[in-house]
Symmetry: C2
Subunit: 640 residues, 2 copies
């Protein structure tokens, strides 16, 4: 299967996939807790008052930061948008009249807030009226619109209610008049990318190409000279040199997007930009965008990505630094950035299945992103270090609460990342107990996965077309399972060497009710060594099992986690089920430990510490800090 | 030799020691460059105008930081004080009429600035008059006085000129009236310790016990309840809870000093406090202070000190964090803090020689402190990481320029740290080409060290009493040389096993002109392994030779310094002289290197990198960043 330049794989709608098993439990946590918590905490923060025209404006609740001349309050619309999106997905899984009524009430408020011309934004209508469209670089105006558009699409898909969709279409229609190169139009784009991918969603659900064209306009304009941000600043009487982030790399606006070949700046912005570019590449068959994205993909994943799929090591710019600079204890690796990487990866699959993207989508999903949510769905990580000395814990809320609804909406919609559908093909990107109902080549088909993945590697897929039907199913064989995977169709072995292209086994045939695919993926404990160029990981090893990165925690292993030394051979290990972590699979490993006794007299000796036999219990990284608080470590010392 | 509770070893005056060799070259750099540069840059910063009553006040040149309600401009007096102190020492070595005239002019200005009552402070007389003694906690008022006192003592000793000494005695006399528990007196002390040790110097040079008593008062009062800082804040209408550093641990004022058993807070403050405490312990035979200091010494050196003698890992408080938390690339390890550790260590020798203190004095001097000064004496490190990715370089000046004059005055006065004298004993704490003229038991004696230490370990000491004279000489046998050191007196071997107590070989006899001591210290390349509790150093080794810690630099070894793996045996190494580093001894070592080729396809592999034979050149850490800029690393990967 070479990539067909004309294939267009689009994610299935969230309600088309029903989940149980691993993801089912996580979705239950979102339905039962997170969805409501998000609304409660948004409300407590003042966000409802902010949009309710029947209440006085809350004014500036979160002070304006002089450095970037903005307040995180400016993007409250986005927090509400992502919360509504989460609620939408949760309603599909678990109807909840009370929650739906609260969401409807918010949507009603937006309806009342919306101006005649279609414009709608809580900050610029109620706190700083008159400043509309005056600082696209810093003030997240289109970003807020984008998140409300995503909410609108989700709420419509989940409930069938069109009100928010209509509001956002009116707003998008207004934007079409505002942005462009015509007389009196703004030839600009948002400092924080997001509206691009949202407009694509809006276009796909409405069938309106004009929204795609606007998204493409924003993509095409970004970074062009003469530079819009510079002109905008001068027009506003601001000195462009005073820009807090110095260069436009921060928002990936330093070059036209097709010329960008290095992943730089704010990590979430980068991921959202590349997601939008990938969507446009798919919709317009735009090879120049795809080519730039392929280069950027390698730049990110070969030089700048944590083994967890975390990205953006630095707090100072919430983003990227130097190649191979991946500090573990101070890793920023924002939850939103890994969520964004999942978004981007899934969209790189728009032009055809390729495990180069899907493997990393899975890695970022299970590790960098999912870690952001506590098992009970009630607390959240913003940054995701790979080593902790016991002071890093999930919090209840944040002044910039972008991550909670972001991981929640991803978890609640994860089914749409598992499957994608093209004209005559279904791609199975991720495995998990689930049921897909799709329409393929005009015919209805149900795909049912039975599996305890990611804990076990056996996956049985029942294929049930309504009527016998000719199409292809592409199943991902992860790179880590390439040796040892096996595939059967109705009991007959399929030769993977022949069937696998770009990491997917593609079975094209006439499918009939009752067809059964059996895939076995080996889940061996797998060492992960980093390139010697990653100075923070030299002499260390991380352990993985299937898509999951493992870690050691103090509660199982004591506090001196860095004293453990993993042997070269991992043969001496056992798996066990951990009841307190929802029957997750832990790993027990025999190894050695540096003996710190006898070091009392001085800090430095001329001989290294003795190594004594020991054992550790490893748990999946995404489950850390769900039991007793304490130290945590992903990269263990490795025997040389 | 058990510590004689009544011995009092006091450092010799700087002019009593003449240096050549290693330290002679460094002192030349200070005399030829740094001393003048300090004045030039102080002047450029506005510090001269600040004290010149014939010019208008400069006003607030460095804005007041709202967080701590102060400005680094508040301690300009200290910068001038340390600069004059440096000049004083430099004038002794190299007379310089122009420099002396500039110092005299500054002293004349201070004379004119001084008020009738003796008070003198540039900020509180010229920028914020009326606020005198209202915020001892934050505003460095006594700290400034202390540095001017140290300058006064040094300038008097070097030039015989009393003017600054008289000014500072008048100021100290004034303080005696201001501070105390009497009616209208202030029962307080400075947030930044310094005046305590300075008053001891003033007492020693003037013979005035009243200055000692004031120093003791400040030491005794610190941290007592009811808390002075709290009362002071309330009196000034400030909320004590708003203190930017939250707890008084920041300035070691959280407990009475004799109850303190953990080294906490701002590192320089801690070192200056312990120095003052040690001086008071020596002068008053105060065992309760000595006991607390011994506990604090172990706490610092066994749990919180870099192998370089750098201390205080964190920028946020310029100080201490958790035990065993010693990050290398982000090490703050302020130059001033290691200078302060040298101060403290030397004062711990006040009650008798003990290598427990002197070894670390030497370690901090040659590594943590000296690194702060470029070879040419013209640029300065503030913070001293043990790993650099090429962005850390010495700077020309700093908004808080405390380090340049601090390392300069230490280098220029290093002779006074080499020798200390008690009633009937001379202690030789440090080795280096030098000549001491001392008076011992009423008789003049000259001690001359001939040595190329620290590059070579052979030290020949000529002892030349004016007349035959009975006294002891104690020579330090560093712990790292304990195996392999040899000592001869006039050609006869001295049995070190018998002669060494507390790490010093003590020779008590009637000395005659022409007596010769020969000491040989083995300078083997020495691995240094950290306790496994230091998570940042596990699996790594630092290399030392004599008192010097070594490092690898990019200019010699390429950029992938973390890929080198040091073998367990260091037998395969050679030394060589580096001309471009003033004939320093470099070390060439055969080792292996992890091969980063073949890692292009992905960042993480299931197999570790191949190791290929390689060699590195190591240079002394204190000389790094004196050639081509680039990466640097102290802790190399170690074979397991």
């Amino acid at each position: 299967m070479t990539t067909d330049n004309k294939s267009q794989f689009r994610p299935v709608a969230v309600p088309d996939v029903q989940l149980a098993g691993f993801w089912g439990k996580w979705q239950d946590a979102v339905c039962d807790s997170t969805a409501e918590i998000l609304l409660d905490r948004c409300e407590k923060a003042g966000m409802i008052q902010a949009i309710d025209v029947n209440q006085p404006s809350p004014g500036v609740v979160i002070p304006i930061d002089e450095k970037w001349t903005g307040s995180t309050q400016m993007f409250w619309d986005s927090d509400l948008g992502k919360s509504i999106e989460t609620i939408a997905y949760s309603l599909y899984r678990k109807p909840n009249a009370e929650l739906e009524a609260r969401a409807d009430a918010i949507i009603d408020m937006y309806e009342k807030l919306q101006q005649e011309d279609g414009y709608v934004n809580a900050w610029f209508q109620r706190v700083q009226p008159g400043k509309r469209w005056t600082n696209l670089r810093d003030h997240h105006e289109l970003y807020c619109a984008g998140h409300l558009m995503e909410a609108a699409v989700a709420y419509f898909q989940a409930t069938g209610k069109r009100k928010l969709l209509d509001i956002m279409c009116r707003y998008a229609d207004h934007m079409i008049t505002v942005f462009g190169h015509g007389e009196g139009q703004i030839p600009g784009y948002c400092g924080h990318q997001e509206v691009e991918l949202a407009l694509v969603k809006l276009a796909r659900v409405t069938g309106e190409k004009k929204y795609l064209d606007l998204a493409k306009f924003f993509v095409d304009e970004r970074g062009r000279e003469p530079h819009f941000f510079t002109a905008e600043a001068l027009r506003g009487g601001r000195d462009p040199k005073e820009y807090v982030h110095k260069t436009y790399e921060y928002s990936q606006a330093h070059q036209p997007v097709r010329e960008q070949n290095k992943v730089v700046g704010h990590a979430v912005r980068a991921m959202y930009q590349y997601s939008g570019m990938a969507d446009i590449a798919t919709e317009y068959h735009d090879d120049s965008l795809t080519s730039a994205l392929e280069t950027l993909w390698d730049d990110l994943t070969i030089k700048q990505m944590y083994v967890t799929g975390g990205i953006g090591p630095a707090a100072i710019n919430e983003g990227f630094t130097d190649y191979y600079d991946l500090p573990n204890d101070t890793a920023y690796a924002e939850t939103c950035a890994s969520v964004g990487l999942v978004f981007w990866a899934s969209r790189m699959l728009g032009r055809g299945p390729n495990r180069r993207y899907a493997d990393i989508m899975e890695q970022a999903l299970y590790n960098g992103a999912l870690t952001g949510l506590a098992r009970d769905g009630k607390t959240f990580f913003y940054d995701n270090p790979l080593e902790s000395t016991g002071k890093h814990h999930r919090w209840v809320w944040h002044r910039c609460p972008c991550c909670p609804p972001n991981i929640a909406r991803l978890v609640a919609s994860v089914g749409s990342y598992m499957y994608a559908v093209a004209d005559n093909e279904i791609a199975v990107h991720l495995y998990g107990e689930s049921r897909l109902k799709a329409t393929i080549a005009g015919a209805s088909v149900t795909l049912t996965q039975h599996t305890n993945y990611p804990w076990h590697g056996d996956i049985r897929v029942n294929v049930d077309p309504e009527n016998s039907s000719q199409f292809a199913i592409a199943l991902r064989i992860p790179e880590w399972a390439a040796e040892g995977a096996s595939l059967h169709l109705n009991g007959s072995t399929i030769d993977l060497t022949a069937a696998v292209v770009d990491g997917y086994a593609r079975i094209a045939r006439t499918w009939q009710k009752g067809d059964v695919i059996e895939l076995k993926l080996p889940l061996e404990l797998r060492p992960q060594y980093a390139s010697p160029k990653v100075r923070q990981d030299v002499g260390r090893v991380a352990l993985a099992r299937g898509p999951l990165i493992y870690c050691v925690e103090e509660t199982d292993n004591g506090s001196d986690l860095n004293a453990f030394v993993v042997p070269k051979s991992l043969s001496s290990h056992r798996t066990k089920t951990v009841e307190s972590l929802d029957d997750a699979i832990a790993v027990e490993l025999d190894l050695t430990k540096e003996d710190a006794s006898g070091w009392n007299g001085s800090l430095y000796h001329t001989r290294p510490a003795e190594q004594v036999p020991a054992k550790v219990t490893l748990i999946p990284y995404h489950l850390w800090d769900n039991r007793e608080p304490g130290n945590m470590l992903v990269w263990l010392q490795s025997e040389k």
